[in-house]
């Protein structure tokens, strides 16, 4: 598609620049080996050993990503709907109200179950 030629051009320039700087950065700097320097940075103390598969993070992050997908899908449907809105009339509005309300029910459920609380 011809429309994307400019984007490709900009992308190529940006990629060339980014790759060039990453490569140049590894060449121009000094290289003085020091074992402590290559350790994980933890403010100067001995780094804690990585827990072997035992590191536990709040599951809230996962729930957030899940909510994000649901709302992202809603947005993706809202956009063509908004663009075509004038042609759709009352019917289009009713459709979207129904759709949004169903998603809002899900949202309210998540809220009630404490899925939106971070503490």
């Amino acid at each position: 598609m011809d429309t994307y030629v400019p984007i490709l051009a900009l992308g190529l320039i940006a990629a060339a620049f980014a790759i060039f700087s990453v490569v140049i950065g590894s060449l121009t700097g000094p290289k003085r080996y020091n074992r402590a320097k290559l350790d994980s940075y933890e403010c100067g103390i001995e780094p804690t050993p990585q827990p072997v598969g035992g590191g536990r993070f709040p599951v809230k992050y996962y729930l957030t990503a899940m909510l994000f997908i649901v709302f992202d899908i809603e947005i993706v449907f809202l956009y063509p709907w908004a663009v075509a809105f004038d042609a759709l009339g009352w019917f289009g509005l009713a459709e979207m109200v129904l759709f949004v309300l169903t998603v809002l029910v899900a949202y309210a459920y998540v809220w009630r179950r404490g899925g939106l609380d971070w503490d």
């Binding site: 598609m1 899940m66 063509p80 663009v83 042609a87 019917f91």
Partner: protein, 199 residues
């Protein structure tokens, strides 16, 4: 509605920088990339690397949509699949602290049945698609007006209302499922901090 002026702005209507065969060549090349990265997704031994190859695969499919003139669908593909679903996958991996390096449990024991199932599924899909569109000729350039937001919105909200409304119920079910999974173990509204772990 003069959508075409927007999308074919640089060449006028007659010339094309990519000739029609050029589009086809690009389509096949991207298709090969998609296929290769899809194979890498299932063969690479590092979980996060596999997720990254999945990004390449899904992005390639978006490229195919673009070549077919389905602009809206292509960017929706990037936004939803690359920008949301694989991010969710990565979240899952990072939350369980996917180890840096190889994961040996990724090896599948039943390789032969897996290959048979995959080949069967691919065969069915290819047959159905080829059979359905045998007599249809799609001119990618002519399809551009059909791929815009307004055209998609009009079609979706006039003729495909039921699938659209059903989708909202699917989303509802997905969210309820996510809540149920994430709160399993922690009973009701107790203040136990819930976490995911590999134990």
């Amino acid at each position: 509605m003069n959508v075409t002026t927007a999308s074919v702005q640089f060449t006028g209507s007659a010339q094309s920088y990519l000739s029609p065969t050029g589009v086809e060549v690009a389509f096949i090349l991207i298709g090969l990339v998609v296929l290769g990265s899809a194979l890498l997704v299932v063969t690479v031994r590092n979980l996060v690397h596999a997720a990254l190859w999945l990004v390449v695969c899904l992005g390639g499919i978006a490229g195919e949509y673009l070549l077919l003139g389905a602009e809206l669908v292509a960017w929706v593909q990037i936004l939803i699949y690359v920008g949301a679903i694989v991010v969710l996958l990565l979240f899952g991996l990072v939350l369980t602290r996917a180890p840096i390096g190889h994961t040996d449990e990724l090896d599948v024991k039943h390789r032969a049945p897996a290959v048979v199932v995959a080949a069967g599924a691919a065969g069915v899909l290819v047959t159905v698609v080829v059979d359905a569109y045998r007599k249809v000729w799609l001119e990618p350039r002519a399809a551009v007006p059909l791929g815009t937001g307004a055209a998609n919105g009009a079609a979706l909200f006039k003729y495909w209302v039921l699938p659209f409304e059903t989708l909202s119920v699917l989303l509802l079910a997905a969210l309820v499922g996510a809540i149920v999974i994430s709160r399993r173990g922690a009973d009701g509204d107790s203040d136990e901090p819930e976490s995911v772990g590999t134990d």
